[in-house]
């Protein structure tokens, strides 16, 4: 479906982050190893935080490997918190308003997976969105609608709880319509200071999710690795698939759990839908 990475730590150059790793996200747009699709060529997006609370967004319908503006932007931009996403559409149109990450005020959201039988469920899910938020929906994807459901159910106050309720709602509506496994997801969401990353699916066979291990330990292990030396001790990556084969660098996030990354802290907790 899609691939994504979420970075937090000392400001990193976006070209270093998106292009230079051995199996960088841009490289994965052509040759993903762990995705359902090897190609994620249906547009991409980058969200990055700078000196103002509202993050910037760059959305394109070109395949990431072809976008000259992404390369230019990446060469000059530095950021301490970056979300990047490459898309393999599950049916909705390839257009900028369908590119992740999605933004609401200072929040960013991106999703790998899908709501099964989305067109069957779409109206009921749309009705469940807070009427005050409804007009802000810009695109036509399941992923953006999922974001607005989470916002409706309290994302800005209690992200894990709101995501759990949104998942509960989707599963409930899905099952009312006879959909056996309504949701497949890895999701990342941030307010610019903390990142939450979720791995869950109704059928218990979720898409892959990995996090980087402690950079200091890793640095000790690989003292000549250039990219590692440039990162701060609290730098953390959460990714759909590892950016390289560096031994000891990646830990899988377990099925039905979520990760909270705040500064150098990264804690895993179990995740379960809350019926709504």
């Amino acid at each position: 479906m899609c691939r994504w990475i979420a970075y937090s730590g000392s400001p990193v150059n976006l070209e270093d982050l998106l292009y230079k790793p051995e199996r960088s996200l841009v490289m994965q747009s052509k040759y993903s190893r762990l995705g359902v699709e090897t190609i994620n060529g249906d547009g991409f997006g980058v969200g990055w935080y700078s000196t103002v609370p509202r993050p910037g967004l760059f959305h394109s319908t070109d395949p990431a490997w072809n976008d000259r503006n992404l390369r230019e932007l990446a060469a000059l931009a530095w950021s301490g918190r970056v979300f990047a996403h490459i898309r393999a559409s599950t049916g909705t149109a390839v257009q900028q308003t369908n590119c992740h990450p999605f933004r609401h005020d200072r929040w960013l959201w991106m999703h790998n997976g899908l709501i099964n039988d989305f067109l069957k469920l779409k109206r009921d899910l749309t009705l469940a969105v807070d009427p005050a938020l409804f007009p802000l929906i810009q695109g036509s994807t399941d992923s953006e609608l999922f974001f607005y459901l989470a916002l409706t159910l309290g994302l800005e106050k209690d992200p894990p709880g709101a995501v759990a309720r949104a998942v509960g709602l989707i599963e409930n509506i899905g099952r009312q319509h006879g959909v056996e496994f309504p949701l497949q997801m890895t999701v990342a969401v941030t307010d610019g200071e903390t990142t939450w990353a979720f791995r869950y699916s109704s059928e218990g066979r979720s898409r892959s999710l990995f996090r980087s291990t402690d950079i200091s330990a890793l640095r000790a292990l690989h003292p000549t690795h250039e990219l590692l030396q440039g990162l701060s001790g609290d730098a953390r990556l959460v990714v759909s698939e590892p950016l390289g084969d560096l031994e000891g660098a990646w830990q899988e996030v377990p099925e039905a759990s979520y990760l909270v990354v705040h500064g150098a802290q990264a804690e895993v907790a179990p995740f379960a839908p809350i019926p709504v």
Copy 2:
């Protein structure tokens, strides 16, 4: 807002129709005379009928004056029924799914104008769409939603009645939200055999709408005019603004009325919303 033309008659070459008139639609994309905007550069679309009931669509986000593929397609395509539209966005995204004409089975729909305070009314209007049709909405415009309301209210059986009911519904919902003049419109709709064109606005000051006069009479008047000689006697054009200054060629469609074009017949009737 936008400009459009609706052609019916003997098969015409699309290049002759869209590029060659003195003030052709493609020329109007840069230099409209009667529009609210002189520029209609926010994408365009063409729908044309061929040998199958379902019309073809060509939608582009480029300004029409720049699109090389439109020029190529137009040079080779002939059709006896063509809808073409150039867009000046009233706020929604410039993307292919927001380009007119919109299609449902064998039906095409295009709109010049807007639903005022659309974001305020959007949710209630969306709820009024038949749940079976709801998942077919592809874009985010007021114009496409208006089409789905008309479909919900019987467009395929009684076009003038369904449009009158859809307008009544929009005005009713608009006024519930305190919008004084909810709708401004010229609309063209066709099933491939008959074309209906409406001119109406809540405030009684509608966008311009013109229809071509009887081609045979016109031909007699201008015996050396090349384009005229190529058209069949039953050829008819309905347009946002005249395609040239040819004397006697254009008649204004009156405020609050609609036109039915079927073969050589073109009849005007008064139009009034039906409260829903």
Copy 3:
């Protein structure tokens, strides 16, 4: 590098040709089997002949699998001679002017392969183009320049001779610059009535090229195959890779040879560069 197909025969619907075969060209844009790249997502193009001598062109920088306008156009267009090409760039920009097929008057040209070290040779090759043709070059690819060299060297009068001279010239200039194997190619060219297809490379290891066998014989072999029944007896396809696994349907065009397709005739002859 790229994939292409060249069709001639009774008018065929472009959707049947480009989308419906088991391993259609549009499918190959994502999953090519015999190409150097599995993905040909750097734009595409279709050229087709209709009622006028000059063929139409549709060029897009979107991956073919994503282009809605291609799907629409294909559904309504019929043609007795079609060139279609999906591109995997070897370095030059992804832009419409770099999409194949290239056109000059009634001629179409498309190429799979590359001129090695093209940037080193580009100036000398450019100087070799007829000054009267030079201003007509629109893009920046090796493939289009190769076309203009062939035009300079007599393509319109003697296609096999002109291509042999253009190859000779490229190899000569290449070797002057120390390039061991200057050219890799399969090329298709047509004037709308005859198609010539070439397979050659300086190193003698050329990209794959196949032609369809006699349709009548094939039809006898597979009496229930739907697509086959719709094709005329003189229908011929020349392709970079087979469109399916139908037994007996495809014959490889040998290394260093060319094929001339005219009506039901399809003859293979040896190909060798002519030094210029």
Copy 4:
């Protein structure tokens, strides 16, 4: 033809620079007052310097007024030296490689105007480019070729001399081909530290060019003007047309002259072609 602005001074936010002035460059893309065309909707580009010598480039074929990514980028980017350009094509394709500013190493170049009868002169002009630079030409415009001629003739060592020689060369080649007035230009070029801006045309009726007056004096005159208060004393703008009606803010650069802006210094000198 086109419109452009060149900024130097303390780091300015690109949104403040490109969107906020009363008659901002983005606004001019729809409604230019002094241009040959009121609309400059054939793509645009921004070049900006950051912490590395090589400037970043953002090129788009969308009209500037519609580009969401430009708006996002502009909101987060700050730069002390910015070139921005909106294009009205004089015939060459609308594609990213034809968007200004053009870049060579640390240099940026942008042009308003045209080489008359460009296609007639193109080959001879192309031959005059240094063979080592020739392969770096990416697009098909007269403006980029003019840049490469200036680079060939010493731009990096002596900008005014190199531009004078390039103009002399163009006029010479033009007149050999019977073109009476070969060149029309305002050009801006920078190495990231100094900006040179030229106003010249073969017929002595050049496109408009303005520079901002001394900011400190202007600030004294308009003590409540917000944008002015944010700019450093050495901030300087050179523009195709004024960004607003602020009295005392703009001085015309005279016909046949050039301006050198370095820090707070801005000196005007006469410009004349040097025959080559």
